[in-house]
């Protein structure tokens, strides 16, 4: 049995589709491309496809991943070509490779994500002012944010999940880049980090997930593929 891992990008209006929509699109594309996907055994067989952490609606991405288990061996390049041929525009496979059996599931190994946000606001802030705000964040012991859900409001400390952060001025605002915690053991949302910069009434004009990684305790980042 072969397991193929693919990295794909989501761009243009496709970014407004939800994670579940993308799951369905990939499923349909695999069937149209007649990829020999393996099925789970048992009473209710389902195709063996697994995705990485969900992408927020509205966010473009340069690094989404999925694994497919195949019934028979297939050359990764051939997979990539056949898949792309049947795939709707805005969803682009950039790389496919075979991974050894026993490789950890995407959702289990990915714990770190990088994002790029472009924000607009006024009055503008200088490079130095922005740097100071970033420094302030790293000087803090904790950053408490509030998460609202129908079940109620919860407090959450995002500080341990912010590993890197930078902000540089643009003509109308700034570009903010960050490396933050993601996944089941702890999750920081890029918007929460942007909020902590304390910029009033900013507007996000662009947001991109630029990478997903396995981050080791010393800070080394490993790409899933």
């Amino acid at each position: 049995m072969t397991i193929l891992r693919s990295r794909f990008e989501v761009e243009g209006s496709m970014r407004f589709l939800s994670h579940l929509d993308i799951l369905r699109i990939v499923g349909k594309t695999l069937r149209r491309a007649e990829i020999p996907v393996a099925f789970s055994q048992g009473f209710n067989p389902h195709p063996l496809i697994a995705f990485g952490p969900p992408r927020p609606v509205g966010m473009a991405s340069r690094a989404e991943y999925f694994d497919v288990e195949l019934k028979e061996h297939m050359n990764p390049l051939e997979f990539q070509e056949r898949f792309q041929e049947q795939c709707p525009g805005g969803l682009l496979i950039r790389k496919t490779g075979e991974i050894p059996r026993g490789t950890g599931a995407l959702n289990a190994v990915i714990n770190c994500a990088t994002y790029l946000l472009k924000v607009e606001y006024s009055p503008l802030l200088t490079k130095e002012e922005l740097n100071n705000r970033v420094k302030d964040i790293f000087n803090k012991e904790e950053i408490i944010i509030f998460r609202h859900s129908p079940k109620g409001t919860k407090q959450y400390d995002i500080r341990p999940g912010v590993w890197q952060l930078s902000a540089s001025p643009l003509e109308n605002g700034a570009v903010v880049e960050m490396e933050i915690m993601t996944g089941s053991s702890g999750n920081v949302k890029p918007g929460e980090v942007a909020d902590s910069l304390g910029i009033r009434d900013y507007k996000i004009t662009e947001m991109v997930r630029t990478g997903l990684f396995t981050r080791l305790p010393e800070g080394e980042r490993i790409v899933p593929l």
Binding site: M14, L20, D21, K28, L30, R31, R32, F43, Q86
Partner: protein
Amino acid sequence: MSYTNIINMLDLGGIPVKARERKENFPLIMAGGPCAFNPEPLADFIDFFVLGEGEEVILEILGLLKTSKAGHGDFNKNRFLQEAARIKGVYVPGFYEVSYHQDGTIKQVEPVLEGIPPVVFKRVVKDFDNAAFPTRTLVPHTETIHDRVMLEVLRGCSRGCRFCQAGVIYRPVRERDADKLLAQAEELVGSTGYEEIALTSLSTADYTCVEPLIKKLLDRYGEKGVGVSLPSLRVDAFSVNLARQVQEVRKSGLTFAPEAGTQRLRDVINKGVTEEDIKETTYAAFSQGWTSIKLYFMIGLPTETYEDLDGIVDLAQKILSIGRQAKPAHVKKPIKITVSASSFVPKAHTPFQWEGQEARESLREKQRYLKEKFRKLKNVKFHYHEVEVSFLEAAFARGNRRLGEVLEKAWMLGCKFDGWSEHFKYQLWLEAFASFGLDPEFFANRSFGTEETLPWDHLSSGVSKEWLAREYRLAREGTHTEDCRSAPCYGCGVCSQLDVKPQTKR
């Protein structure tokens, strides 16, 4: 209850909502589908309607449009509509004048131009096997209704339920060749990537080749993880068996529609289902491991009494105990029954078109009665629909052209998406009716006289009004009419009037 959404869509598209306010530079608005069989409430808004099946007539319309526009920029809407009105199946409401009696009933509907047919007949595809069937369809990225391969195995239904509009307007029955269907399935699965093939029709278990077709589809696609689904099931053991074949393991619920609680009332509505059938069917379903069954009924059917309501409760009770007996030992889940009772809405072109809907208070009383009875029954859930919604549905289903201004007014008052209960604004609808001195009860609750000109009498499904009247009479006598597939022709008129024949496969 989607009528105002049509107006809203036109408005959001920057298009004047009324046909006569749209000058040459605005698009032509055409409409079709079942509602086009009583399109009068929409007559003010739509340039032309198409009655019946679209496969062939759409090409004729587009052909006419092409030649009309081939001239040197002198396309004229009115001239186009005049020519379109001569195409069979096309109804241009603007070319018909409706006159009324003092009491608000219709005096006559007359074409105002020479050469415009006094009665528009629906279109019907004679050679259903070779009718165009698109196999490269749009595949939405988000989940939508009917988000699967739709394989239409047959069209029409001749069972003759007297409340059913589809059973009249889609006549006659025509089945598609199984090999054609398999080829279509192949192309559709290949081009769409869907993981489910629905065998659609008004009653798929009636398709002569349904078993071999399902078997072949499962053989071919089962391994690829593409399943088969049956959206409509008859009340019989054969249907349960089909359901078992297509969903080997995943036991969702099964839904059956006995429609009425007693044999007497089922004979009135010509639902050819006996209590024995229902027991047998549910026994088969429970013994094969299904634990939840949904039953559809209607209340307010012609001649209904409280005995018929007791019949619904009684039937649910019997099915519950059948379930407890039939359930295999290894199934741990308790038997659950959902009973859904909607209020009968009389529809145009059916034997019950003359029958007024039961008064709201009396329907509410019946709902309360059933609710109380079912409250005492464990493991039975009872659902019913809001009476006010069914009431307005009836008003528009049997409405005439005067309701156009009501629709526009209601829309201006803010009635949109009224099919969604949280957006249903009953008071505003009443206000809209009242502002033109109209009473929805006149359309919904009044029984129409047999001599009365009905708002849709100039539109024909091919089934004759005389036959509908005869069926209405037989209904009140409680006499069953056999399905013409298995019994001799009873002369509904569709085949002779439209020069078609039923097509069934062997």
